[in-house]
């Protein structure tokens, strides 16, 4: 099992969600986050005072899937979240040790 975390542009969330649903992912967790990579922040000016906001608002999607689905999920997110400009985000993939469905106590892939 894999844990896939993707940091994407907020306005791409709907598109990514629809694409993932279509390819068979049944659930995801979404968080509003802030941060920066190469894109860095925005410049804002208020009455001549300039502020550079280092942290840019982003959305983090977490998807947990069986090993055989992982590469397709990564490909789908990459395709649907891309705009081609700096700040499109990153995808992080790691191995998932175990999963428990709280209601039934099921574990492993059937709990995903």
């Amino acid at each position: 099992m894999k844990m896939i975390e993707a940091i994407i542009k907020p306005f791409k969330l709907e598109e990514v969600k629809d694409a993932l649903l279509e390819m068979g992912v049944h659930g995801m967790t979404v968080t509003e986050v802030k941060g920066f990579g190469r894109q860095k922040g925005n410049k804002e000016t208020y009455r001549g005072a300039e502020y550079t906001t280092d942290f840019v608002p982003k959305v983090k999607i977490e998807v947990f899937v069986a090993d055989n689905l992982a590469s397709r999920v990564i490909e789908t997110i990459t395709r649907s979240a891309r705009t081609g400009s700096v700040g499109d985000g990153k995808i992080f993939v790691s191995d998932l040790g175990s999963v428990v469905r709280i209601r039934t106590g099921e574990t492993g892939e059937s709990a995903l």
Binding site: E44, T45, Y46, R47, G48, A49, Y51, T53
Partner: protein, 444 residues
Amino acid sequence: MGGYKRFGILLCLGVGLFLGSLVGIPEAGAEGEVLKVDTGDTAWVLTSTALVLAMTMPGLALFYGGMVRRKNILGTIMQSIVVLCLVSLIWITVGYSLAFGPDQGGLIGSLEWIGLRGVGSAPHPTYGPTIPHQVFMLFQLMFAAITPALITGAVAERMKFSALLLFAGLWSLFIYVPVAHWVWGGGWLGQMGAIDFAGGAVVHITSGVSSLVCAIVIGKRTGWGSDHMPPHNLPFTLLGTGLLWFGWFGFNAGSALGANGVAGSAFLATQAAAATGALVWMMVEWMHRGKPTVLGVASGVVAGLAAVTPASGYIGPFSAILIGAVAGLLCYYAVYWKGRMSYYDDSLDSVGIHGVSGVFGILATGLFASKAINAAGADGLFFGNAGLLGTQAIMAGALTLFSVVGTWIILKLVDAVIGLRVSSEDEQVGLDLSQHNEQAYSRE
């Protein structure tokens, strides 16, 4: 907590004793002369009075409230509302009598009208001969209320609420009241021939200069210059700007004290200066910084409005356009300079906008005033009377000096009794939670 309680008890005691002493004073009847109340004039001044109320609450409250960080919006709005309430009572009890009561040596009014004795429905010969004296008093009450509220912009996000209350009360009594007397109540500046149609000196110079003293004495906000302190809700600020603009027609055109031609030309001058101030600020910022900003336009509106205030009843539309244009330019650079130099933290720019345009407006009145527009006014330098400019400069200088010294003394006094600033922990948490146990934006 001790400070708050002590302050509350003192306030209650003071108000109680005062009201107690007033009970039983019969309201004196009409004055000797027979002046007839005009219904149209009275209706307009009553309406203007309500318009000026809207400038403080919710106009100024939202204008400032939107510019602070989200943790301080309630505290900021609260300052405007409560100053309005407090000054209303001060004005009705003693303030009006001291400001507009029979003159005592050009310096202050007498206590003859204390508790509004003799201030009834009959007109006063000089304070609007066609409107009830009480309506004039109410119109002036709104001016007295907004002036200390303007200062809250200089001390935003860090002043103790209790300290602000005490400060506003003392400031109203010891700065606003005498100055209003000097200029409008028959005092020495009015006698000298200084003119201020709707409060460029009385309202904007006093509040703007006092704001500078307040910002310096209370010190910068923690993290100023290093932390981000952008406005948290500019739509609120724009809503406030709209209400200020709307209310300003009462402020300026209402100062004609009648529904007449002077009210109409003051209305026109107000609109012309506000529009020009906004456009000039926008253009200057666009050229200087690359983008026209929404806050810049809002600031330009207020700069134009404040600058034209003292001249509004004495000038034509093209003089107003010139005044608005210079105000937009001057205030833009004053605010920009403040940011660059970092000498003081005038958080919401009450110095850079009200102080600068107040002084400029008073001098501009000495240039542009014309008897052709208002026979009761005076001619300025451009209409052949250089003397007026000198008189206006004396007024600006005298009020600046008086406001600096007076405000400094009041601040030191309040600091000794209550302490001016919230603790750094409370400042971190924000005024809303630390001063009022409330939050504007629920996390639910």
